[in-house]
C-alpha cells in the first residue's frame, strides 16, 4: 500500500483547470520527484496534497485513509509537512520561532530538543543564527529554515517545492545532499524541482507533469536517459 496516493485529482482556479485528473503514488521510504515546466501544476499538486487548495475531482489517500476532505491543519497532524514554494519563512519570527512553528501541531511538544539538534546538525548555519529574524536572512538561509521547519513536524511525508530555487550552484549540491540524508534517516520525500538533472539523479521514481497532466513516469535513471525528457528538461539537444 502506497503511503500517498492521488487518484484522478483535478484542481481548478475559478473556471481554469490547473490539474486535470492526475494520478500518482509515493511509497514509504521513497524520494519521488515531480518535474515540469513553469505553470505545469506542480505547486498546485503540492497545495492539494497539503489541503490548502480544494479538489474539484478525484481522491487523495494517505496511509490508507481518505484525506480528500480533511482540514489542512489536521493533515500536518497525520504526518504531512511542506516547505512551500517561495519558502514562506515568517519574516517577523526568529529562526528558533520559525522552527518552533514547524512543531506547532505536535502533541509531544515537550521533547523538541532532539529535533532542534537534528536540524542544527543538518544546517549548522541555522545554529549560528538562532535569534536572527526570518525577514533579514538570505535566500539560501531562508530555504534552510523552511526545510528545517518542515522537519520539526517529524513528518512521515515531506513535501519540498523547489528547494533549490534561487540558490548558488554549490549550495544546490548541498541542499540535494541533505534531502538524500533526510530520506535515509527514514522520511519519505515528494520533491518538486526545476533542476531536473539533480532531482532525477537523487529520486527513486519520477513523474513528468505537462499542463496539468502526467505525461511520463519511471525510475530516476530511466527518465534521465529518456530522449524527450533530455530535450525538454535537461537542456540537452
Amino acid at each position: 500500500m502506497a503511503l500517498l496516493e492521488l487518484s484522478d485529482v483535478s484542481v481548478h482556479y475559478g473556471r481554469i483547470g490547473a490539474l486535470s485528473g492526475i494520478s500518482l503514488t509515493v511509497e514509504e521510504g521513497e524520494i519521488v520527484t515531480l518535474i515540469g515546466a513553469n505553470g505545469a501544476g506542480k505547486t498546485t499538486t503540492m497545495r492539494a496534497i497539503s489541503g490548502i487548495r480544494p479538489l474539484s475531482g478525484g481522491k487523495i489517500t494517505f496511509d490508507g485513509e481518505d484525506i480528500t476532505k480533511l482540514r489542512a491543519d489536521l493533515r500536518v497532524v497525520r504526518g504531512i509537512s511542506q516547505a512551500p514554494e517561495g519558502r514562506g519563512v515568517f519574516p517577523g519570527m526568529t529562526v528558533l520561532e520559525n522552527l518552533d512553528m514547524g512543531a506547532y501541531a505536535r502533541k509531544d511538544r515537550k521533547n523538541l530538543a532532539e529535533d532542534f539538534e537534528r536540524v542544527f546538525t543538518l544546517f549548522p548555519r541555522l545554529g549560528e543564527r538562532k535569534s536572527q529574524v526570518g525577514g533579514t536572512m538570505s535566500g539560501g538561509e531562508q530555504q534552510m529554515v523552511a526545510i528545517g521547519r518542515a522537519l520539526m513536524a517529524r513528518p512521515r511525508l515531506l513535501l519540498l517545492d523547489e528547494p533549490s530555487m534561487g540558490l548558488a550552484p554549490q549550495f544546490i549540491q548541498q541542499i540535494f545532499r541533505i534531502i538524500t540524508e533526510i530520506n535515509q534517516q527514514g522520511t519519505t520525500v515528494l520533491l518538486v524541482e526545476q533542476n531536473a538533472q539533480q532531482a532525477l539523479s537523487r529520486a527513486h521514481r519520477a513523474y513528468v507533469l505537462e499542463t496539468g497532466s502526467i505525461s511520463k513516469t519511471g525510475t530516476g535513471p530511466e527518465l534521465l536517459a529518456d530522449p524527450s525528457v533530455k530535450e525538454a528538461y535537461l537542456g540537452v539537444a
Binding site: G51, I52, D73, S81, F90, G92, M101, Y104, A105, R149
Partner: protein
C-alpha cells in the same frame, strides 16, 4: 498671563488660542490624558489585532465596546445600585463589585465580538468575498448592534450609576492624581501586558502571529486559521470590555446606544496613529491621543477637543504614513 485670541467679531470665543491655560493645566491634562488614553489603547488593540490577522477594519468593534458598557451598567444595576448619590462602600466591597463588573463586561464584549465574526465575517470568508464587501458588512454589523441596543433601551441615555467618587491620592507638580485614574491606568497596563505576553510568548499566540504574517504557510504548519481568527476577535473583545467598565466609571453620564461611535473612531485613530497591526503602537497611539486631546482642549477650547485628535492623525500620517511605530502585527516583537 493669558493670551486669548478671539476670532469672532462679537468677542465670543469661537476658538481660543490660550497657551497660558495649557501651562496651568499641563500636568492635569497629562494625567487625565493618560487615563483616557488607556481606554483608547485597550479598544485600539482590538482594531489592531483583527487588522493584523485579517487585514479588516472591524467597524463593529465600537459596538463590541458599547455592549460591554451596558454589561457593566447592568451589573451595577443587578447588584442593587441605582442612579443617584454615590454610596459609601468599603474598599473590599468596592473591589469585589468592580471585579464582578469587569468580568461581566469583558465576557459580554468578548462574546459580542465572537458572534460578529461568526455571523457577519465567517460566511463571507467561506465564499471568498472581496475586501470591499467585508468593509460594508462591518459597517452594517455596527448599525445592527446599535439598533439592537436602541430597540431594547430606547434613545435616551441611561442615568449614571456610580460606585466610587474620584479622590485625590497624591499630587504631581500640583496636579491631583485620583484613585480612579490610578485604577484605570494600572489595570489597563496589566491587561495589555497579559495580551502582549499571550501573543508573543505562548504557542497559541505564536499561531496568531503566524497567521498575521503568512496565512497559507501558517496552515501548512498545522495552525487552524479559523480558530486563530476567533481567538483574535475574542481577545480584542475582552480588552474592549475592560475599557467599557473604565469608560463607565469615568463618563459624566451613563451608557447610550450610540456611545460607542466616537470612542470607537478615536480608538481606531489611535491604532492608525501608532501603526495599525502593531500591539505597542496601539498603546502608544492611545496614550498620545488621550494626552494631546487634553492639551488641545486647553489651548483651543472645549469644542475643539475631538478635532485635535484627527488633525494630529493627519499630520502624523503625512510624515509617517505607516504610523509612529509602523510595523505590522506580524513583525512586532518584544
Amino acid at each position: 498671563m493669558n493670551h486669548v485670541v478671539t476670532f469672532l467679531a462679537d468677542g465670543s470665543d469661537w476658538i481660543n488660542f490660550d497657551v497660558g491655560a495649557l501651562r496651568d493645566q499641563f500636568w492635569n491634562d497629562t494625567i487625565e490624558g493618560l487615563s483616557q488614553g488607556s481606554i483608547y489603547a485597550l479598544v485600539a488593540l482590538g482594531y489592531t489585532l483583527v487588522y493584523g490577522v485579517l487585514r479588516l477594519i472591524n467597524f463593529a468593534h465600537s459596538e463590541v465596546f458599547i455592549f460591554g458598557v451596558f454589561g457593566a451598567y447592568f451589573t451595577f444595576f443587578g447588584l442593587g445600585f441605582r442612579p443617584g448619590p454615590t454610596p459609601e462602600l468599603g474598599a473590599g466591597e468596592l473591589i469585589l463589585y468592580l471585579a464582578l463588573a469587569l468580568i461581566v463586561a469583558m465576557l459580554v464584549s468578548g462574546a459580542t465580538a465572537v458572534v460578529v465574526e461568526r455571523v457577519a465575517y465567517r460566511p463571507l470568508r467561506r465564499r471568498g468575498a472581496p475586501p470591499l464587501v467585508f468593509l460594508i458588512t462591518a459597517i452594517g454589523a455596527s448599525f445592527v448592534l446599535q439598533q439592537i441596543l436602541f430597540i431594547w433601551r430606547g434613545g435616551n441615555q441611561e442615568r449614571a450609576i456610580r460606585l466610587m467618587r474620584p479622590q485625590e491620592v497624591f499630587t504631581i507638580f500640583g496636579a491631583s492624581v485620583t484613585n480612579l485614574q490610578i485604577i484605570i491606568v494600572l489595570a489597563s497596563i496589566v491587561l495589555m501586558l497579559i495580551a502582549n505576553t499571550f501573543i508573543n510568548r505562548t504557542r497559541l499566540g505564536r499561531g496568531v502571529r503566524a497567521v498575521a504574517q503568512d496565512p497559507d504557510t501558517a496552515t501548512l504548519m498545522g495552525v487552524n486559521k479559523e480558530r486563530v481568527i476567533m481567538l483574535t476577535f475574542l481577545i480584542g473583545g475582552l480588552l474592549a470590555g475592560a475599557a467599557a467598565l473604565f469608560y463607565l466609571m469615568k463618563a459624566p453620564t451613563g451608557a447610550s446606544y450610540q456611545g460607542g461611535f466616537l470612542l470607537g473612531i478615536k480608538a481606531f485613530t489611535a491604532a492608525v496613529l501608532g501603526g495599525i497591526g502593531n500591539l505597542r503602537g496601539a498603546l502608544l497611539g492611545g496614550l498620545i491621543l488621550g494626552i494631546v486631546e487634553n492639551y488641545g482642549q486647553s489651548v483651543f477650547g472645549g469644542g475643539w477637543r475631538d478635532i485635535v485628535a484627527f488633525v494630529l492623525l493627519v499630520v502624523v500620517l503625512m510624515f509617517r504614513p505607516t504610523g509612529i511605530l509602523g510595523e505590522s502585527l506580524g513583525k512586532a516583537r518584544v
